[in-house]
């Protein structure tokens, strides 16, 4: 029990961090925010899954993926495909509406009908079943990550090369999804999603339920991530990042390790994509391409690339900053966001988490300086040692 407490929750300080985050997301936000803003938070949080995944594979594993949107998007598309088929079935049963008059093949997603597809393509069939959709949502990105991972890591492709390759793959996928519009909805994406197993996901009550589901998903991911990173696997990962050759010479299969963490990150990102679709109600190839993927890395960097909880705060801060600046200063928000990125990289290289771990104790010491006699010099040394 004690080991579980230590490894999964990160001991006392880890538990406090987790509790603060859970309190903020589960209690403070729902009380403070209107339903519309809460839904926006749900949307941001679905991106936080990717940021957490990036903490694991970039922060700890040293694998920088600039194409994480690929996996996120695949997860999202799987969920969207299921919801779209359900919406198409529902439209078919509401005979007599305008929408049905517009379709020539009733029961097919509208975009297929517009592209003269009269029969459901074979790879759409699994998305008729919800369990199968959930399975594919995880399996497809994981398998693709496995293929990419084995191919790259066995050949010892790493660093910037890997980043550029994932970026290229992400781009290729976007172009394919845009051009095969009869199968994927093209550049419009899969829109107008309404119900999940008969449950209208557009009502305010449904949206807040989805928000809570997203939060729970995030918390589970953090606990899972902590457990992994505190295990032997996690320590090996850090070793690979810092001194890959030495790990290899010690007899470990480095490629295997890297592939594993990359696959886990892919699966986690895919779950985020699925939550995004539930929160927002559509999926589009614009969300899968290079720019969002770079933003995902930025979320992670702003939060602090070594902190799972930081990743969530980073995502929320950057996303909310984007929304806030673009609402308040529509003409200037590029300036403001750009400056924030530069400042964060230069002043807080460890992101918000670094600022918190270094800044908060320092601020505390400064605030309480009059109440203490000698400055606690040895304390800083202890902190240094405690850091991994």
């Amino acid at each position: 029990m004690n080991t579980l407490y230590r490894s999964m929750l990160g001991g006392r300080s880890g538990l406090i961090g987790l509790a603060i985050l859970a309190g903020l997301l589960l209690i403070v936000f729902p009380l403070l925010l209107e339903p519309f803003r809460l839904n926006m938070m749900g949307k941001y949080l679905s991106l936080a899954f990717v940021a957490i995944a990036l903490v694991m594979c970039w922060g700890y594993g040293g694998i920088m993926s600039l194409g994480q949107g690929l996996f996120w998007g695949l997860g999202g598309y799987c969920m969207a495909a299921f919801l779209k088929l359900e919406a198409a079935r529902n439209i078919a049963s509401e005979a007599g509406t305008d929408q049905i008059k517009a379709l020539s093949t009733v029961g097919l997603p509208d975009f297929m009908d517009w592209n003269q597809i009269t029969e459901l393509p074979w790879f759409w069939y699994p998305f008729k079943s919800f369990p199968l959709t959930l399975a594919l949502m995880i399996v497809v990105p994981t398998v693709i990550a496995y293929i990419i991972g084995t191919a790259m890591f066995k050949r010892r492709v790493g660093g910037v090369y890997f980043a550029i390759i994932t970026q290229a793959l992400c781009w290729a996928m976007e172009i394919l999804f845009v051009t095969r519009q009869g199968w994927t909805g093209g550049i419009n994406g899969i829109t107008d999603l309404r119900t999940l197993l008969g449950w209208d996901i557009r009502t305010p009550s449904a949206q807040s339920s989805i928000y809570f589901m997203t939060v729970v998903g995030i918390l589970v991911c953090i606990v899972l991530g902590r457990w992994l990173l505190n295990s032997k696997f996690g320590r090996l990962l850090v070793a690979v990042r810092d001194m890959e050759d030495r790990v290899r010479f010690s007899g470990y299969d480095v490629a295997n390790l890297k592939t594993t963490v990359f696959c886990i990150a892919a699966a986690m990102s895919a779950v985020g994509g699925a939550f995004f679709v539930l929160n927002v109600g559509f999926m589009s190839p614009k969300l899968v391409t290079i720019e969002p993927s770079i933003y995902m890395v930025i979320f992670c960097a702003v939060g602090g690339r070594m902190s799972l909880i930081g990743a969530v705060y980073g995502t929320l801060a950057v996303s909310y900053g984007r929304t806030f600046f673009s609402e308040e200063f529509p003409a200037l928000w590029y300036f403001l966001m750009g400056s924030v990125f530069i400042l964060v990289t230069m002043v807080f290289p460890d992101g918000l988490a670094g600022a918190a771990t270094r800044g908060v104790p320092a601020a505390w010491r400064w605030l309480t300086r009059n109440f203490r006699e000698p400055p606690p010099a040895p304390a800083t040394a202890a902190v240094k040692e405690a850091q991994p």
Binding site: A102, W114, I187, N188, P204, G281, K286, T323, P330
Partner: protein
Amino acid sequence: MPNPTTRPGALSRIMRSVVMACAAIGSAMAVEDGWTNPVLDKFPTAAVNTTGLATGDHWVTVGQLHSVTGTMAISETGSVEAERLAIKQINDMGGILGRKIKIIQEDGASDWPTFAEKAKKLLIKDKVGTVFGCWTSASRKAVLPIFEKENGMLYYPTFYEGLEASKNVIYTGQEATQQILWGLDWANKEKGAKTFFLIGSDYIWPRTSNKIARIHIEKHLKDCKVVGEEYYPLGHTNFNSLINKVKLAKPDVIYSVVVGGSNVSWYKQLKAAGITGASLAAKKQLLLTISTTEDEVRGIGGENVEGFFACMKYFQSLPNENNLKFVAAFNEMYKDKYAGKAVVGDVTQAAYLGPWLWKATVEKAGSFDIDKIAAASPDVEFTGAPEGYVKIHKNHHLWSKARIGEMMLDGQFKVLAESPELIEPNPFPEGYK
């Protein structure tokens, strides 16, 4: 309340009272500005606004949702400006039902989820009376479910692929058949064109347009055929291989549905490869586009497109009185920015129609309620339209004419032909699916 199931928390109740207080102060200030509503007795707020829109005794708020930043800002700037001009003119005339229009502008940032997010904000939080906005099909598709769910109203200005008719949208641009069929007939009858090469950017509007064009060419025009159909990714900048293919195919008509920044590269490289309006005319060929307006030509440069043809419903050079007034007013409003040389394209004009059509509809319905506006929209006319007379069809599209313009060196279009009648909008064309 837009939705009876909404149960606001304690805090949002406080928020609401704060908003109400602000609104009260706002209206008090409006009175202090010397603006009193002359027709308030006839149209009391309680009667014209039964659904809780942000409409008071002296003002009505509307939303404006375009991309001010990102790749689409290039195209959407004109629409933003035209809508603001129309709203200013309406306010100068005394507003709508005695109420002045206030604009809440949001930036879609060329990003579809952002469009959806901002649409939600405008409808749920700001409770605007209507929204003028969107440009690309993708952004419209992203916000459409929200407008339908929250029962908002959107005036959408762009020519688009059709296949859609929503109670909650008024489409002030042309749907595909209005723009394509008559133009192809013109090329066939006036220019004797028999072979067509269809070119487009790779997304739904060019693909649907070319599909309709292909069916029309193959089934409805005598002895005509399509000799090639090609798509390039959005933003593509290198067309030399395509130009060589066109040269091999030697079509009578190069039918171009290339959009956005790609346009500049496409026309510059055509010119560089020796394909110009004059060289095509010498071989009895022509280039016909449905995607290049005065706005784009400004970026491409008139020397690169001289002698090509475009099929639109509006050109800046239209000589009618409405248009002269409109262009003059546009120049006057943005004189600091354009120094009297403003360029107005088809979509910009369609965006200008939005506020005016909304005004006419509200006045016809005697109410700002969305349901009443939607019901009152069919047969609403606007005689002051720069493109000439327009009327809303019961499918919420506009009856409009089609025109052929020849591109000139100065970036303007010379109007060569005009459809004799208003063309009926037909977003779900039978036989063209």
